[in-house]
Chain length 264, copies 2
């Protein structure tokens, strides 16, 4: 069994240092979790009024106070943290989630499917769908609106993810409804760490969830306040893809027929 | 708007003629529906005790009393019918769903993902994922356990299906939970026509559903009795894949990145 936590926080637009300070008491509640998942864009807030503003609130991977802060906690507690951040590379911005461990940054995922005005601010992700070994388990990452695209969840399942970390800033109720399907069809755990509160004219829906390998909701946060949820999950369950004695969730796929375009 | 019906019936194993007779009063309740969906293996029943028994209860497409019966109704009422049947081709069996219209059989789909003991009886489907023009709309077909494989639903969505007909003999509660997700991520209607009753040691879960393009359950049948549900659906809704003013459910996909196997 592995202890994992979700942090449902409430980032404030443009208040990078305050956002870090607000995370300190929440991180303190994660006890001895092996893995902690934070929301999307946890360093900067979400609802930028312009690309210029987003640029000012971005950080590069190599020189990020936010990553330094996460690393400090990861080193002190021996855990791994997945957190959304507004990433700058040269003059381009990405809606990124980083994986930070006791030795520093391990990898990152750049959101492939941008939602609404994000298209005017961020570049679409260009680093594919990596999975990462974090010791007791393999994790993949998806960000918020990626929930609408079953392809990416399936690819992470096929690459051996036990757990998909899903930093989010969800405003509609669809995400929390669709995520359990990705769990059950791929036989993986998912942690959807959503945010709460409002940001300009956007109100976020909270209700962060942890789903099990049969799509069951193992834990659900409130809709309107910062919160920490810690549970134990069993990576052996995500590695057993036999859903009946004769059916394997992944090996029963029929890739040859998926390519068939026979029309009658 | 197009009127569509689901028939939740209760086929009896081995009673081909009785199964037809039992459908007559149910078909009479479909009013002037343009399309009617029946359960999986509606001609033969499901829980065969041996492959030999299944062979005896099968029919070839060219010489099927069941298809003749469906055609008779389709011709008289000007409708289309999708129905599951135990199909024999030479000495091979397929878990098939046929599409029958006023002029006779239009096409068929052979179940790609076989469940449990079906693997000992049927050949896996070998005719890909066809879609069919039935006048006011385009339909695709999935059968029962196919619900666990998002690939096939996505392909039918990409091929332009407005409605996916889903003849089923579901025993677990997962199917009816997962189907709404296929609706929302592909922006299509789904009719899951399940059966009721028991067949040997199997008890079927009924609860047939019709889902809308946002994954909403538009209608749900009881769990334990034969039933007909008729509603109107709007194919224009399934053709509009814009889910926000800047997001298209299908065009926002990132196929280039889905192929990327970058590992960090």
């Amino acid at each position: 069994m592995v202890k994992v936590s979700l942090i449902q926080s409430q980032p404030i637009l443009g208040e990078a240092e305050q956002n870090i300070q607000n995370l300190i008491p929440l991180l303190a509640q994660t006890e001895d979790s092996a893995l902690i998942v934070l929301p999307e864009l946890a360093n900067s807030g979400y609802n930028f009024t312009s690309r210029n503003q987003a640029m000012k609130l971005s950080e590069s991977i190599e020189d990020s106070r936010f990553i330094e802060f996460l690393h400090q906690h990861a080193r002190a507690s021996g855990c791994h943290i997945v957190a959304g951040m507004n990433e700058r590379e040269r003059d381009l911005l990405y809606n990124t989630a980083v994986l930070v461990g006791p030795d520093g940054i391990i990898g990152r995922y750049r959101k492939l499917h941008l939602f609404m005005n994000e298209k005017d601010i961020f570049e679409p992700g260009n680093r594919g769908l990596p999975v990462f070994d974090v010791g007791q388990m393999t994790v993949g990452i998806q960000i918020c609106f990626d929930y609408l695209f079953p392809e990416t969840w399936r690819i992470l399942g096929l690459k051996g993810a036990d757990l998909i970390c899903h930093p989010s800033n969800l405003v509609t109720p669809y995400g929390q409804k669709v995520v359990p399907m990705h769990s059950v069809v791929n036989g993986v755990y998912v942690i959807t760490a959503n945010r709460t509160g409002a940001d300009g004219d956007l109100k976020f829906s909270g209700g962060s969830i942890i789903t099990g390998t049969r799509g069951e909701v193992l834990a659900r946060a409130s809709e309107n306040k910062p919160e920490v949820i810690t549970i134990e999950i069993d990576p052996q369950k995500s590695r057993n893809k036999m859903i009946t004695e004769k059916n394997h969730a992944l090996n029963d796929r029929r890739p040859d027929q998926y390519l068939d375009i026979l029309e009658s």
